[in-house]
């Protein structure tokens, strides 16, 4: 079963095509990480699927319906997207921000119904932000802030969540915390999670599938053990790395690496 299917998706900015033709099937109820070097188009693809940027051509199917034939609000009930390092007005409280996740379900003036309030409360609890509900966003640490944003996406009550580098600017412990939270959501709610991650080892540890991109195309897509190979490191990242099994998770990880010698400078 697939949550997202893309066919010949073509995306670019300003007429420069970054991703010429992207065909992929994202499995339902799994965590999929998109990896690749800077500028390979991984964020671009995610944004196009999350319709933050318009694709030039191609088809995106979510939960078996063509996205182009769906209303914006109906898409927002099935798929949430968290952009990279979003910023909220500092005086907004956590609860207010999380309540914005109910936007696609509201009409008119938008008073929160009992159900809305329950869902907002639940999203704050799950993300461990219940105690901070009435605090202003500005007073939160980076990790807490990221958790509030995730809570907002949860309040949207979608089966699919897209995240663009959710661990950026977080220290190691908070990176793990965010990924653990996503893993729990995946396990408990069966949420399909698609994210762009910079850290290969974390991607390998937390993902069911990895999708490695190079120059706007899919280099290799599969389980971490199929993707995390020395060949992929060389092709996608231009590094000569050693892949070993992680002592804790058993997943493949890149231990140490060098720049590939005789690399054409680009």
């Amino acid at each position: 079963m697939n949550s997202i299917v893309t066919k010949q998706l073509k995306v670019g900015y300003d007429g420069n095509i970054v991703v010429p033709s992207f065909d992929a099937e994202i499995r339902q109820g799994k965590i999929t990480s998109i990896i690749g070097a800077n500028g390979c188009g991984k964020s671009t693809v995610l944004k196009a699927i999350g319709r933050i940027i318009r694709s030039e051509s191609g088809v995106i199917i979510i939960n078996d319906s063509d996205m182009s034939s769906m209303k914006n609000k109906d898409i927002a009930k099935q798929m949430a997207i968290l952009p990279q390092t979003p910023t909220a007005p500092g005086t907004l409280t956590c609860r207010e921000l999380v309540a914005y996740g109910r936007f696609p379900y509201q009409r008119g003036f938008g008073r929160l119904t009992k159900e809305d309030k329950d869902i907002v409360g639940w999203a704050l609890e799950v993300t461990n932000m219940g105690d901070f509900a009435d605090r202003e966003i500005a007073s939160l640490s980076g990790g807490q802030r990221q958790r509030v944003w995730i809570a907002m996406a949860l309040a949207q009550q979608t089966g699919i969540i897209l995240l663009d580098e959710p661990t950026t600017y977080l220290d190691l412990a908070h990176q793990l915390e965010v990924l653990e939270l996503l893993k729990q959501l995946n396990e408990n709610q069966n949420t399909t999670i698609v994210m762009v991650l910079h850290d290969l080892n974390l991607a390998s540890r937390y993902s069911h599938y990895m999708l490695a991109m190079k120059d706007g195309r899919i280099e290799v897509y599969g389980e971490p053990k199929e993707v995390m190979t020395e060949t992929m490191l060389e092709h996608c990242f231009g590094i000569d790395g050693d892949i070993v099994a992680d002592r804790r998770s058993g997943k493949p990880m890149c231990l140490s690496f060098d720049l590939v010698k005789n690399d054409k400078s680009d």
Binding site: Y13, D14, G15, K47, G50, R51, I52, I53, R54, K71, N72, K73, D74, I75, A76, K77, A80, I81, L82, P83, P86, T87, A88, P89, T91, L92, T93, R95, E96, L97, Y100, G101, F103, P104, Q106, G108, F109, G110, D134, Q156
Partner: protein
């Protein structure tokens, strides 16, 4: 559930209470304002005259002199205050105001053209706001044209920069026109530019009120959308908002609200900056309570300024806009220093 959990007032509910209090204050200032001037009337007299009682002289002074002025003052404030919130939320910039998208300079230029070339005293209730609106929209439209590129995403900074450049161009043309017109037209324009509440005929007031109600409601209905856009264009898109379309719709509404205020009241753009700023401190970020609060606060400021002009001999004949600036600039600076 923990029973000791403190029941906190939600920001929205708190905002509604603050708005109610502000409205009360507005009415109080309104009644006191009816009281200010050469002819003394007590608040009781004002109220009884309003409801058909009182003396003939009192009725004439109240209905012909004071009420239209005060109504105009309130409406100018409401329009500018609301428009300011929309602009700041749309552009994610607390320094944005209806002037940012060149509305002030654009509508200014058209009003100047009208006064300079067609009618010396600008006395057309319908034409003035329509020209001001047209000038404002045209200018906003040009700024969009130059400030955005096709297929590229909205960039607030670029729009603001383009607005600054376009405004100075419009300003130059307006100044040129003012150099070549005759004395009486020049005086009208100078007073208009410094913010004189000039459109105090009832016919203006009615047109303005209908205009304000129409665009006020059109804007206010989108409060929830504005909230989400204020968080970020990408976040709003993810929540199912058609950002491009809403941006256009809301800018037109904001320009329309500001243009009418410009046309009847003159240059009160500073209100579009300070109204939202003060309101934000009182009610927070939710546009649904911020818009009315900002409008009411700006309305109170204009009324107070006008009361000073009416009540204090040495301020007689000074445009209210100047008093607004004198009153609010120090307070604004104080707020900025504290934050």
């Amino acid at each position: 559930m923990n029973s000791i959990v403190k029941k906190r007032l939600s920001p929205l509910r708190k905002g509604v209470y603050v708005n109610a209090a502000l409205l009360f204050l507005l009415i109080a200032v309104f009644l006191v304002g009816c009281n200010v001037g050469q002819y003394r009337m007590s608040v009781g007299e004002v109220i009884s005259t309003l409801f058909g009682g009182g003396t003939d002289l009192g009725r004439v002074i109240l209905f012909e002199e004071r009420l239209p002025r005060i109504c105009l003052a309130v409406m100018v404030g409401l329009g500018m205050g609301m428009s300011g919130v929309v602009m700041q939320d749309l552009l994610h910039n607390d320094l944005a105001s209806p002037g940012t998208l060149g509305v002030s300079a654009g509508s200014g230029l058209f009003v100047t053209l009208y006064v300079a070339l067609i009618q010396g005293n600008g006395s057309s209730a319908v034409l003035m706001p329509i020209l001001a609106l047209f000038g404002g929209l045209l200018s906003a439209g040009l700024i969009f044209l130059f400030g955005t590129r096709r297929k590229q995403r909205l960039q607030p900074t670029r729009l603001i920069m383009t607005g600054v450049a376009m405004s100075s161009a419009y300003g130059a043309v307006s100044t040129f026109l003012m150099l070549i017109i005759d004395e009486s037209r020049l005086e009208f324009l100078q007073r208009w530019q410094s913010g004189e509440l000039w459109g105090t005929e009832w016919e203006y007031i009615v047109v303005f009120a209908v205009w304000l109600l129409l665009f006020g409601v059109m804007t206010y209905r989108q409060g929830r959308v504005l909230n989400v856009i204020n968080v970020g264009y990408d976040v709003a898109r993810g929540l199912g908002v058609n950002v491009g379309r809403q941006f256009l719709y809301l800018s037109v509404c904001a320009v329309a609200l500001a243009s009418a205020s410009v046309a009847f009241g003159g240059n009160f753009f500073f209100l579009g900056l300070i109204g939202p700023h003060i309101a934000r401190r009182l009610v927070g970020t939710d546009a649904r309570v911020l818009m009315p609060a900002s409008g009411i606060i700006a309305g109170i400021i204009v009324m107070l300024a006008d009361m000073l002009v009416q009540g204090l001999e040495f301020l007689a004949n000074i445009p209210a806009g100047i008093v607004v600036s004198v009153l609010s600039v120090p307070y604004f600076l104080y707020l900025l220093m504290r934050s």
